[in-house]
Symmetry: C2
Subunit: 536 residues, 2 copies
Amino acid sequence: MKNVLFIMCDQLRFDYLGCAGHPTLQTPNIDKLAARGVRFDKAYVQSPICGPSRMSFYTGRYVRSHGSTWNKFPLRVGEMTLGDHLSKLDVRTVLCGKTHMAADTEGMKRLGINPNSAIGVHISECGFEVWDRLDGLHPDGAQEPSHYNDYLRGLDYGGPNPWEQWANSAQGEKDDEILSGWLMSHADKPARIEEEDSETPYTTSRAIEFMEQSKDKSWCLHLSYIKPHWPYIVPAPYHDMYDKDDVIPVLRDEVEREDPHPLLEAYHQHRFSKVFCRDDVRERVIPAYMGLIKQIDDQIGRLMSYLEESGQLDETLIVFTSDHGDYLGDHWLGEKELFHEQSVKIPLIIVDPSKDADQSRGSVSDALIESIDLAPTFVDFFGGYVPDHILEGKSLLPHIRQNTAVERDFVISEYDYSSRLARSLLKKSVKDCRLTMVYDGRYKLIHVEGYRPMLYDLNEDPQEFHDLGASAEHAGIRENLLSHLFDWARQHHNRVTISDDEIDKRAGMEFFRGIQIGFWDQEEVNQAHKEGRGGN
Amino acid sequence: MKNVLFIMCDQLRFDYLGCAGHPTLQTPNIDKLAARGVRFDKAYVQSPICGPSRMSFYTGRYVRSHGSTWNKFPLRVGEMTLGDHLSKLDVRTVLCGKTHMAADTEGMKRLGINPNSAIGVHISECGFEVWDRLDGLHPDGAQEPSHYNDYLRGLDYGGPNPWEQWANSAQGEKDDEILSGWLMSHADKPARIEEEDSETPYTTSRAIEFMEQSKDKSWCLHLSYIKPHWPYIVPAPYHDMYDKDDVIPVLRDEVEREDPHPLLEAYHQHRFSKVFCRDDVRERVIPAYMGLIKQIDDQIGRLMSYLEESGQLDETLIVFTSDHGDYLGDHWLGEKELFHEQSVKIPLIIVDPSKDADQSRGSVSDALIESIDLAPTFVDFFGGYVPDHILEGKSLLPHIRQNTAVERDFVISEYDYSSRLARSLLKKSVKDCRLTMVYDGRYKLIHVEGYRPMLYDLNEDPQEFHDLGASAEHAGIRENLLSHLFDWARQHHNRVTISDDEIDKRAGMEFFRGIQIGFWDQEEVNQAHKEGRGGN
């Protein structure tokens, strides 16, 4: 029996792990995964924001291909997901945690698909069988977490929205004073919930529950933590495991604010950027962020113990990753969305139980990886054929098992800022807010519609302080990266109903179905039959 | 009551009409349409081959967007068609004739859509309500024409396949000798069928039958003739209305075969090209091709009489067009598929019954038109909102009614030759056979993966004999056209589930749903509420 445990964190930066070199944050359990598998040091998301990034993970396709270009923009009905590919291999594709999926209800209506039917639910849940969905952002008045609030209520966490009032708030000095976790000034306080009832352990428990009850059939379990994504608040004892002395220095330079690219300048105006420019904010928030990661690490330990004890460790491919990073004030920015490493690069560890993978255990790979590589990797792991006219990434198993190079000259990542304040500041129409990154392992170019591109040389300037987008001496470099981008943009991304093999098989066959094009007389037809091809 | 009569021929060249200047072919009825409407002199298909071109007409989207890149490559389930857009406006979208649609049966199965249900049939028939489907190529052993063979059998045209043995064959000298219309040597003989029973009058009759029975609700009738597409054979009296003296001179030059572009050289090797290089072939085939057009013209006359007599002329928008052209030996080529005017340019006449259109009646427009403009034109005609995140063309009504310029700097057309012999000759993989034309009204560039582009200057060289793709002095021109192509390739083509307006409406609203990003304390939140925006 083979299984895949596909663990994703939300907004976890690539460098906030012990194994990735963080000097003060200890993550021994995640580090153990790295020691047992391959840690990919150049892995990138297809879009540095939750929804589009996740839709790329789940469809194995670029954002331009699946079309869900921002959070809650519905994934078009018919777009194939992991669940579609793995069900063909008799594998259950199961969710515990967050997906950020928005269903294409209009499309389903048009196609007569009842959203409550098995297929309707499958589509609405992005191809996952929902064991427990918890999307992680449930402010008062919004949709409830699917099961988590009921769970909390059963434990006597009362009130209209336990997610908000208990799991993501702190207790004030007065009995009736609740301090909202949305506000960063409260980040140093413990969430007013027992640690084991908070989101990360809850989701882990649900995952273990699934694994314990599902030993009769192969599965791909997406264990999708909503943390360390904001609200930045964590229960005791994690709330004071770190303090301001544990915070690594901010990566920013005055040169970034001198004559910046207009887009960067606009992003500096966002509230989430401005607040993270304050040292007191970073010193209050980042320790909580670290606590949330530490909590995840402990839960990974719990998971691994379970897998080991239940004898599933040797048959389970384990992936540990994130949907994007978090600027945390670096580059004078907060949140994510742009393409500095802090935002677009992700932690990625893959532990392949196969003996063939022994050769790569504990190694660090600097191959250029895209998040869309995971879907084909899973299909490959379960022994399936990878339909590369649909899945646009590449299986990583040959790299992990035979040290085969990953064939990729550049990675692509996309973002569309039409939903952001930056659009008003720059006075752009909705159509003109497309950004595309193309990165070849040294040079990173960001194409910005209507402006010059940005360019960084990560060899000479690993911290990406110096935008070479206007540098005359780098014109040739930009030319080269733009040419990669052009190549990529011209590719088929939508010919999803027929494979290359099938096209190859059909080519020239119309003649044998009686479609005789360009023949003068029967003699020519007879001759063509002898030669075995119609000649077109 | 408003209606649209959307007439399409198959493989009708733009210049084989009297009104387009053909010196020997008279098409008085089509010319009358031109006199009553606008004739577009620079109209181009999105792909110079039946299937992909038609899918673009019917979806209003580029080939790269709808993904059906060759004949019978299924149109993905969920892709919206004219029928979807017009049914919202309470208009029936009806088919008499050819669509070349291939259904995405796998996609339907995945979504649990029964292909025989109303929605399944709607999807399978490309959104059309089928009054009569006749795809025009039904060799022995292939699928039967849906109704036409039954119709012929009812008239005592016997045998296994009356489409093949009667409508598309000639009578030999002996009683049992049937001369196949697939063979060009038979093109001068009459098809062995009464003229009124042949495909063009049959399809016209079915269309009139529909119109006669459907006066209670608005309709868009796609009257889609399969002619003058091969088999090149036509019943009496049309088979000898023209002879070799009526054939216009071939447009080809030896310079085209001196050091040609590798792709062109490969296309010259196709049987359909080689046969059309023979003068005897052109002299035998083209008179039949002209006879087929003449027959269509007579049927258009019959149609117009019907519309006039039934009083529907004043409420019906009439379109006359084709899905691509036919080289007929020009440029040493047969068939279509490449991007010379003979292949990619189409006749297009639009007769708008509105009084506002009086100002443009009888005019010839040289605006750059793409075939995807028709779908939004129809939606606009019926008073609907054009969803421009889905429909990628532009309504032509403002141009026809107010003489507003069509905003377009270039037209795009695409083709993929992976199903053709050229691929083996050039030793290309299936993925590497993409061609894209970008034409700005003077210069036409064809981007060929893996090779230099081709370039033609239609001002200096209207016959497109001189490929400037390697000309040093045209480097800047090529640069400019490639830059247009790059712009186009980067656009969203797949964000089909949410409109620009909706994005605009949602922008910044997450703050008001309780998602508070980047706030330090409650005072800042209160201030943001006062200012009416969360600041991101």
